[in-house]
């Protein structure tokens, strides 16, 4: 009868359509698999590029000089030693250096975050004459390299004389170099390390918050300072975390202001740059590779606090940058 034939033809047509769908699906999955492999290769390659110096430095810190010269030893030393660490520890004047650098960076971080949030809020919410021009100047302070004024800045703090007040008392300014005062003053006035960027971040963030909150606060009788401290700041969590992390890391790693204002203090970045010559002079190490091992141990010591902080805060940080409203 016809029905079975037609049924068979329909079934076979359905079959070819099914295989066509299957072929399309397999092609898509092959495409997806290839893309994943491609992405995996790129990611692994780039991870190697990023991690290999770090791994090299850390593994060198544990090696004796014999292991270093041993061609068979690649990353894992045969006789691991803490000798490099103890020498670097002494030469870097740890733990004083580490503690001092951490406290120094933390204090500046707090000052900068607070002041930049303050100023950023002012730019975001209030319209006063010249607010656009002034904000363009803020961007300018970030764009124009601070090295342009390093000479006058140095001179200014060598002989600090605010508005001529000290001149009246002592007939000369006070020498503020080699104290933390210059950088604290700079941060207090929103001119610290990359402060322009932080002010920009806070301004973008505060602009993104709805204005109804402040109107409600105003109706309820809150003054502007109260509004700022009690209402806006707690909402600014993500921007604050972003700026905290950036300013801590940049301050910790900073060599420019450190060498300009605090040249004879024991800040870690400065100590590291002189460690290699210190090691070869003080300990009379003739072999530059041996000196290199000590320097690597010193570098590991310097990086450890940063990595610990980063690992702890990293998840918060990634989310914060997303929500901090830098974007639009």
């Amino acid at each position: 009868m016809n029905t079975p034939c037609i049924a068979r033809i329909q079934v076979s047509r359905n079959n070819t359509e099914k295989t066509k769908m299957q072929r399309l699906k397999t092609r898509r999955t092959i495409g997806k698999v290839l893309t994943s492999i491609f992405i995996a290769i790129i990611m692994i390659g780039l991870s190697y590029v990023i991690l290999s110096p770090l791994i090299g430095i850390v593994s060198n810190s544990f090696m004796t000089i014999n292991d270093y010269y041993n061609p068979v030893v690649y990353l894992i030393p045969i006789h691991p030693t803490m000798d490099n660490f103890t020498t670097a520890w002494e030469q870097l004047s740890c733990p004083a250096s580490i503690l001092y650098t951490l406290v120094y960076s933390a204090v500046i971080m707090l000052i900068q975050t607070f002041i930049c949030s303050f100023v950023g809020y002012g730019f975001a919410r209030f319209k006063f004459p010249g607010c656009n021009v002034l904000f363009a100047l803020v961007i300018l302070t970030f764009v124009v390299p601070v090295q342009t004024f390093m000479v006058p800045l140095y001179m200014q703090f060598r002989d600090f004389d605010f508005l001529g007040i000290f001149h009246l008392f002592t007939g000369g300014g006070i020498d503020l170099l080699n104290t933390p005062v210059p950088i604290i003053l700079l941060s207090l006035t929103g001119s610290g390390l990359r402060s322009g960027l932080f002010i920009y971040i806070f301004r973008q963030f505060f602009r993104g918050l709805p204005q109804e909150i402040e109107s409600a606060a105003f109706i309820d009788g809150a003054g502007p300072l109260y509004t700022f401290f009690v209402i806006m700041l707690p909402n600014a969590g993500s921007a604050i975390i972003t700026v905290l992390l950036f300013s801590f890391v940049w301050q910790y790693n900073d060599v420019f202001y450190a060498s300009l204002f605090m040249n004879s203090s024991n800040l870690l970045p400065l100590q590291i740059s002189t460690l290699s010559s210190k090691v070869s002079d003080v300990l009379s190490i003739k072999d530059p590779n041996q000196a290199a091992l000590y320097v690597h141990a010193g570098i590991t010591l310097t990086i450890i606090p940063l990595i610990v902080i980063y690992l702890c805060l990293q998840r918060h940080f990634m989310e914060s940058v997303d929500r901090s409203g830098i974007v639009g």
Binding site: V119, F126, L137, V151, G172, V249, N289, A292, M318, D322
Partner: protein, 300 residues
């Protein structure tokens, strides 16, 4: 006072710390730099300094007589200009990759930000110092590139170079390849902040746009260029400016200016050098900013 007046006053109070800082440090010091550049500065032992007017002799010195300045300036600007598009494209590419869902995505995001955490110039200096001691001085630019890359990237450039030259590949191509490879490391190292900014921008794009595109039948290629790229373009301008500033602050010009000022005690010359290079950088930033702004797509 009217409400508006009170608002304006409050605004000025909020930005007052910054205004004080700007006038005391930025504006004042900028004027001082200009003054210093026209003078010869000598430091008095009592803590002050004396100025002696010498006209444009500092500028003349920097541009015509100084052995290093012009060369260092052009040698630094070149790599900066080449690196900028590379860094921007690379970070956009990585941000797009990191925006997809795959296993270990959080780890990869953390990893790409690591160079920013470890960006201590002292560390890079210490490493390259060591390498220089080891090689007994640097004889040519390629060896210098090779030595600084070897310690900081784990690639054995010298072995690769030897293999390539053994195969008969001409020296110039080998130098070019070595240069390109060392550049990869530099680009990856300098892209951390840009990747984060682009990631934030990508995540701000509403998913509904992609859904609409898919329904309308757009290919992945079209989706990227018609949707993702325009919505991310304002951040391209931000990133370009940030990259220029960041790269310049690491360049050799800065070190030269610092050594002129503090090792050679020639403050006037250093001020002149700083002014010239800042002018060059501002011009570069202005030009880039202008051309990119014209192409940026701003949402209504």
């Amino acid at each position: 006072m009217t409400l508006e007046g009170r608002q304006k006053a409050t605004g000025l109070i909020f930005i007052a710390p910054w205004v004080i800082g700007f006038i005391t440090f930025f504006a004042y010091d900028f004027v001082q730099t200009i003054i210093f550049s026209f003078n010869k500065l000598s430091i008095k032992s009592s803590g002050g300094y004396t100025l002696q007017y010498i006209g444009i002799s500092n500028f003349d010195n920097a541009l015509h007589q100084s052995a290093d300045y012009v060369e260092t300036l052009t040698n630094s600007m070149g790599p900066i200009l080449i690196d900028i598009p590379l860094i921007i494209f690379f970070s956009l590419f990585i941000a797009v990759l990191l925006n997809r869902k795959f296993k270990g995505r959080a780890l990869m995001r953390a990893l790409f930000f690591l160079p920013v955490i470890m960006a201590c110039p002292a560390i890079t200096e210490a490493i390259s110092d060591n390498m220089q001691n080891l090689l007994g001085g640097i004889s040519n630019a390629a060896a210098a590139e090779a030595s600084s890359t070897q310690t900081t990237s784990g690639l054995d450039i010298q072995a690769i170079t030897m293999v390539l030259t053994d195969y008969g590949i001409p020296d110039q191509i080998v130098t070019y390849l070595v240069d390109a490879v060392s550049r990869i490391y530099e680009i990856v190292r300098n892209s951390g902040v840009q990747i984060i900014v682009f990631l934030a921008a990508l995540q701000a794009i509403p998913g509904s746009m992609y859904e609409v595109a898919e329904i309308e039948g757009a290919t992945k290629y079209e989706t990227f260029w018609k949707i993702t790229f325009p919505l991310v373009s304002p951040l391209i301008l931000t990133n370009v400016i940030y990259t220029i500033v960041d790269l310049y602050s690491q360049s050799d010009v800065i070190t030269l200016e610092q050594t002129t000022a503090f090792s050679q005690m020639n403050f006037g010359l250093s001020a002149a050098m700083c002014l010239i290079s800042s002018l060059v950088i501002c011009m570069i930033i202005g030009l880039c900013g202008y051309f990119i702004s014209r192409k940026v797509f701003y949402q209504a």
